[in-house]
Amino acid sequence: MTAPLISVQDLTIRFKTDEGLITAVENVSFDLAPGEILGLVGESGSGKSVTAKALMQLNGGNTVYDPSSKIILNVPGEAPLDVLSLKREKDMIQVRGGAVSMIFQEPMASFAPAITVGDQMVEQLLLHSKMTAKEATDLSVEMLARVGIPDPAKRFKQYAFEFSGGMRQRAMIAMALSTKPKLLIADEPTTALDVTIQAQVIDLMTDLVSEFGMGILFITHDLGVIAQTADRVAVMYLGRHVETGPVREVIRNPAHPYTRGLIDALPKLEDLEAKLTPIPGDIPSPLNRPSGCVFHSRCSVAMEGPCQTLVPGFIEPVPGHEVACHLVEQELRKGAAE
């Protein structure tokens, strides 16, 4: 087993607000190996994006990381780096856009509107490598071609508004990959795209992983997209991981009631008659996080007692497949006793 590319330990993120300290992410730990795609799924407000941004310290100035939180970046051939210990913006440059690149959800909002796409690509290359402007230009045009943008030399000189949605997202990917990052964070990269274009972008990303061998943290709310791309998946709810494991295992045998709920709520083409079952209630406000298991307020199988008071620990029904649920734990014990 190779050393993980990035190792997140006990990450707890809180935000200072007028209403007090809000917990956005709580005790999240995960590893990501080179060449691996880890899917992070959850509803809006579950803390997926905040987790991802923490890897590059991109969260706002009111962010408080608990002292126990550690994000260790292991670039092969370099000393391990604790991202959260970096205090000065100057030091962040080796992480942001260097070892780690990010693709955002809305490609229109992420490109500067008044600078050509090409200039933006070249700018970051000059910042992160020792290339000359000429080399950077050549590489940028080549990357645009690699992601399937027709007539890249012409597109290089155009502005983001002249690109279609799918093309912008491709250009974003080309830009993120041109610095050869070790870790790519993709935050809902296909959500704003049509299904046909989404399929193209997913293909492109999986191809590039196998070619460049980087690790990808793939954030999405769409379990179908995860099933098609990720090797492992972590399901988040209200800032906590509730279930993690290999994609096949989690989707075929979801153990946590929340994961099961997400799968049941999904309309499936195989069975048009199946009733759509929503998860009852709404995701609670982070201002009043439920005690005990964070999901108990919406859980249909919540038990009196432990679910309301005790935070469930992780158990492994199958090696590699971790679940944080009292009920699963109880059943597992019962099974073992019999």
């Binding site: 949605g165 099933a227 309309p267 709404d282």
Partner: protein, 343 residues
């Protein structure tokens, strides 16, 4: 059997682009000769990629986009309107009978109005209720059927989650007692766990109140679950329309098939089996000649580049606009068209 609430014939919505002074005056057909019938009490799905004209079609049926050519007839038990020839009074009345639910529940609700005022506004503007008591009763009634309680009515929209906001938008759209409602991407902005809840609500409204819905969506799996009839749009035209079962059991247009196979499957072992559609939807300012899909269709022949395919009935009530629809067998087991070579 055919008792349509809306029937459009050769409906075209045309916008002028370029001013004509220095630039050449040109036109764009956002909706291009669409003929469509929406039966009373049906849940009619309209799907297509962005830029296919589905929103514009929905708006034209509400008389919120200009009807440049063709005819749109609205008919319920009381009135029959030709939307191109509405008087001012009739248009006012039509606004009560036909309503719209928007996509983004965060943008659609005024942050400065209480939920009660938001829902009551259409009643007051349209003069449907005389007294405050009457308004309140009606608001409570409709709020209850959208599963909002009295407590909710006093609050402002910011206090609500996406799903609840969408229920408020639905209540606002229904309060005037419409017979026809256009739901434009009404669940696209919601999380899956909430999406199912709003879909079930819309379905129960359709069943209980007998309202006809035009459900616009880019998500075929959602449409498959809630709609009884589906129309697929591409570059302003209908390319396939059929009862939901028929369409999903056997799509006959290569575009419908491509849309279906682009939906990411939940089965991790199903990777890479999908056919990918190449390229993007062409600009509607310069649509390709012949079949508009020919630039992306892997079965396209010479004829497709010259002749526009008409909608032809391939199975009962199943219409497809493709020259070679007979030759495709897009059932699950088989993806190829035996008679045609892929180009």
């Amino acid at each position: 059997m055919s008792d349509p609430v809306i029937s459009a014939k050769d409906l075209t919505v045309r916008y002028q682009i370029g001013h004509g002074l220095l630039t050449q005056k040109s036109y764009l057909n956002a909706v291009d000769g669409v003929t469509i019938e929406i039966d009373k009490g049906s849940f009619f799905g309209l799907v297509g990629e962005s830029g296919s004209g589905k929103t514009t079609l929905g708006r034209a049926l509400l008389k919120a986009a200009p009807i440049s050519e063709g005819e749109v007839i609205y008919q319920d038990n009381q009135v029959r309107y030709d939307l191109r020839k509405l008087s001012k009074e009739q248009l006012k009345d039509y606004r009560k009978r036909a309503q719209l639910i928007f996509q983004d529940p965060y943008a659609a609700l005024s942050p400065r109005m209480t939920v009660r005022d938001i829902i009551a506004e259409p009643l007051e503007v349209m003069g449907l209720t005389k007294t405050r008591e009457e308004t309140d009763t009606r608001v409570r009634e409709i709020a209850a059927s959208c599963r909002l309680n009295l407590e909710h009515l006093r609050r402002f929209p910011h206090a609500f989650s996406g799903g609840q906001r969408q229920r408020i938008s639905i209540a606002r759209a229904l309060v005037s007692g419409p017979r026809f409602v256009v739901a434009d991407e009404s669940v696209a902005a919601l999380d899956v766990s909430i999406q199912a809840d709003v879909l079930n609500l819309l379905k129960s409204i359709q069943r209980d109140m007998g309202i006809s819905f035009l459900f616009i969506s880019h998500d075929l799996s959602v449409v498959a679950h809630v709609c009884d009839h589906v129309a697929v749009m591409y570059l302003g035209q209908l390319i396939e329309t059929a009862p939901t079962r028929s369409l999903f059991a056997r799509p006959r247009h290569p575009y419908t098939k491509a849309l279906l196979s682009a939906i990411p499957s939940l089965d991790p072992d199903d990777r890479g089996n999908t056919e990918k559609l190449e390229g993007e939807i062409p600009s509607p300012t310069s649509p390709p000649p012949g079949c508009k899909f020919n630039t992306r269709c892997k079965f396209a022949q010479d004829r497709c580049r010259k002749e526009v395919p008409p909608l032809r009935e391939m199975a009962p009530d199943h219409f497809t606009a493709c020259h070679f629809a007979e030759e495709f067998d897009f059932t699950r087991a088989q993806d190829d068209a035996p008679g045609l070579e892929t180009a």
